[in-house]
Amino acid sequence: MQSSPGLPRTKSPSRANLSGWLYVTPLIAVLVPFFVAPILVVLAASFFQTDGFGGLTPGFTLSNYIEVLHSALTLKLYLATIKFTFFTWLFTLVIGFFVAYFLVFHVRNQLLAIGLFLVCTVPFWTSNIIRMISWIPLLGKEGLINAGLMSAHVINQPLEVLLFSDLAVVIAYVHQLTIFMIVPIFNAMARIDKRVIEAAVDAGASRFDIMRHIVVPMSKSGIALGTIFVVSIVMGDFFVVKVMSGGGSASVVSAFYEDVGVLQYPTAAASAVLLTLVLVAIVALILRTVDIRQEIAR
């Protein structure tokens, strides 16, 4: 090549443009067929009519949306989903924050910190289904917890609330998703200059002051990213709710999964579009509260 790559001035604008497109081609090649196209299909289907047996009639009707929005069930489902999401978020945040805090600020040995960090990923060495099934011997009626409490005479009857309940759903989610909080918060905390902490100690700050005034504000980007992960995963999931509640609870996604099962594709599509909009709104809200780009650039 004649022109040096370090001098973009020598390139014509159209060529620079072309190379710019080339850089993003791999991303486009993945995103368009696997993300944009399916969403467009779902969006289109949400306006179609159905014959009730899985056949779709192309057209444009808002009746699917009207049906979804008018149903009292929709509100109930959203409330249930938001409840799961909120508690899961709360517990993963608290646990994730303190695990990351411990790893970053209390484990002096960096090798040990990385080792412990890897231990956090151990639950992911097995499949999601096995992880959930393995709760049964622990939480079940004759499970370890009930048996232990019974033999210690704390309770006379096994606690039914432990398994196949909303509590069990939240436990399973927290178990599954805490790592998604730990990773971004750990990352944000690890970038805090240790001398900044020392400067706070020097100014007379207590451990609690340091956490409140220094560590939490400086981990904001990690907390926001973790929140986005957890919220979008919980709101988009139905499997954990189905298994851990024993069919007793439902979420938005499990409801339209049922719709798909009875061939009500347009209503399912309308629900899916609605959920996507809600999620986009939530993520936008999070990003408005924390300017992640600025926090990361700092």
Binding site: D193, V196, E198, A199, V201, A203, G204, S206
Partner: protein
């Protein structure tokens, strides 16, 4: 007991991180209240560790640290009445200049209006009023340094500890901020302890210069004393401005002794200065570079000269006020003359010229 004075005494202070080697090895030092003290030494000599031990960020393995008459070992930084200015400042990146400076008051539970008032007064003192609402990343290096200084000074400490405060600045700003540090120190009237590895910085600022090597104090004293009368070869070479020559004592005659060097035939006469020196001893001597005069080989030597080392000019550097002439007078070691500009240009030398390097006899000093 509350600490009200900023005088510091280090007694037998040692620090070891691994239990085997002492990073700080038995340091004894007295620093007066309101003094400007500079610790100077190469990196890894233990000067920053001493600073951190005085600040309370590190505990000594042995020895006592006394501030204002009270042993402070084990006390947290706040109770020592010290404040530290960290290397590269360690400002809180998410807080504005005002909040950075008010931070120490905030964690002490001062009300918002009161602490912001105090912070604004301090901001004015360091001339940052215009920048009070900016984040540290939007400030220049010099401005950040002033924020760091204000943040440290806001609690009214008796001792301010500065860890390489000027190393992040460029040359011009460094000289300017040096003045500012000195001005602040006079204004606050408290003890400053400043760690640096720049000789010029230390002698320009300090009342007390402490030269360190390998965890030990090599020499501590007023700037002029350390620069002009170094105790040993290490201090002479580290502080600069000296030529160090070694040789063997040939004879001792009353108030002087004569040193012979392996290569230079003629002996060098050196004042004894109450030193116990006997014939045959191996001795280092120092001669200030600006005391060395250069003469043409055929010139008449004025009386009272200690020696006339014959040498070839290796290099010449123009420095403005003087000219630095490097000579090969001693093997394997630098020998430099600082010739005043006017003197040099009245008879300019060239590289390769042979000259006689000479000095007034009583200017040479025997080193320990």
């Amino acid at each position: 007991m509350k600490i009200e004075r900023g005088d510091i005494e280090l007694a037998g202070v040692c620090k070891s991180f691994d239990g085997v080697t002492n990073v700080v090895d038995g340091v004894n030092l007295k620093i007066e209240d309101g003094a400007y003290c500079c610790f100077i030494g190469p990196s890894g000599c233990g000067k920053t560790t001493i600073l951190r031990m005085i600040a309370g960020h590190e505990d000594p393995s042995a020895g006592e640290i006394v501030i204002g008459g009270q042993n402070v070992v084990g006390l947290p930084p706040v109770e020592r009445r010290t404040a530290m200015m960290f290397q590269s400042y360690a400002l809180f990146p998410h807080l504005t200049v005002r909040d950075n400076i008010a931070f120490a008051l905030r964690v002490r539970g001062m009300s918002k209006t009161e602490r912001l008032k105090a912070a604004d007064a301090m901001i004015e003192k360091v001339r940052l009023t215009k920048f009070a609402d900016r984040l540290p990343s939007h400030l220049s290096g010099g401005q950040q340094q002033r924020v760091a200084l204000a943040r440290a000074a806001i609690t009214g400490p008796k001792v301010l500890l500065l860890d390489e405060p000027l190393s992040a600045l460029d040359e011009q700003l460094r000289v300017q901020m040096r003045q500012e540090l000195r001005r602040m120190q006079r204004e606050l009237g408290i003890t400053f302890i400043h760690v640096t590895h720049t000789q010029l910085e230390a002698i320009a600022l300090a009342d007390l210069v402490v030269v360190m090597d390998n965890g030990r104090i090599k020499q501590a004293g007023p700037a002029r004393e350390v620069y002009a009368q170094p105790l040993d070869r290490y201090v002479a070479e580290f502080m600069g401005g000296q030529n160090v020559l070694s040789g063997r004592v040939e004879k001792v005659n009353g108030a002087t002794f004569t040193l012979v060097q392996p290569v230079q035939g003629a002996g060098i006469e050196v004042p004894l200065q109450a030193r116990k020196i006997s014939v045959g001893d191996s001795v280092d001597i120092a001669v200030r570079r600006d005391d060395v005069e250069l003469m043409r080989p055929d010139a008449q030597l004025p009386p009272g000269r200690a020696a006339a080392l014959s040498a070839r000019v290796l290099a010449i550097e123009y420095q403005g006020a003087f000219v630095k002439v490097m000579l090969d007078a001693i093997p394997d070691d630098e020998f430099v003359a600082y010739v005043p500009e006017k003197t040099f240009f009245s008879d300019p030398l060239n590289v390769g010229d042979v000259v006689l390097a000479t000095w007034v006899a009583d200017r040479a000093r025997a080193l320990a």
